[in-house]
Amino acid sequence: MKTRIKELRARYDLTQEDLAKKINVRRETIVFLEKGKYNPSLKLAHDVAKALKTTIEELFIFDD
């Protein structure tokens, strides 16, 4: 799984810590999400997408 979190975070000039505070998770969780090393729950995926003003489909790219 690939994500566009880093790209969108840079677009809105947010640090990993800023994004973590917005969605109430630890900074390491953002690190692992960006690296595609953690599969988030639907709620967390929704929260991240909402914080980055996008949709889940746009944010997470699954390799078939």
Partner: protein
């Protein structure tokens, strides 16, 4: 709601500090009361110290996150905790069987009940701590 969660997290951290302090004091009193060190002590002391140091690190890490305005625990860390708990549980079962079996093979004697309990607590504790640190560094 958010404040209640943060208060709960602070209570967990305070309880963690309290329990770790009690373990350290119990360990210190045990060592002061019995100056003769058996083979079991030599094996168990490093395990106990690892558990104390790891739990202190986990408490410090959580307190640091709260200070920054971030949650001490989130869904990823909860999953890591469940996974590490599962490994700790499996280790507890096998250490109960294995410690006694190992003692019979090596010394031809069964272990006393207290020693088996100590082995179960120490081995499952260290397996939980190592799994927790490993999975939290790995991602999930």
């Amino acid at each position: 709601m958010l404040n209640e969660t943060k208060t709960g997290q602070k209570i967990v951290i305070i309880m963690g500090i309290g329990i770790t302090t009690l373990v350290v004091f119990t360990f210190a009193f045990y060592m002061l009361a019995d100056p003769s060190i058996s083979l079991f002590d030599i094996i168990s002391i490093p395990i106990l110290l690892t558990i104390i140091l790891t739990s202190s690190y986990i408490i410090y890490d959580r307190a640091k996150n709260i200070k920054k305005g971030l949650p001490a625990q989130d869904e990823r860390l909860k999953q890591v905790g469940y996974k590490a708990g599962y490994y700790g549980f499996i280790a507890a079962i096998w250490s109960a069987v294995g410690s006694n079996m190992g003692s019979i093979i090596v010394t031809d004697q069964e272990l006393r009940g207290g020693l088996v309990t100590a082995a179960v607590v120490l081995i499952s504790g260290i397996v939980f701590m190592i799994s927790f640190l490993y999975f939290s560094r790995k991602g999930e």
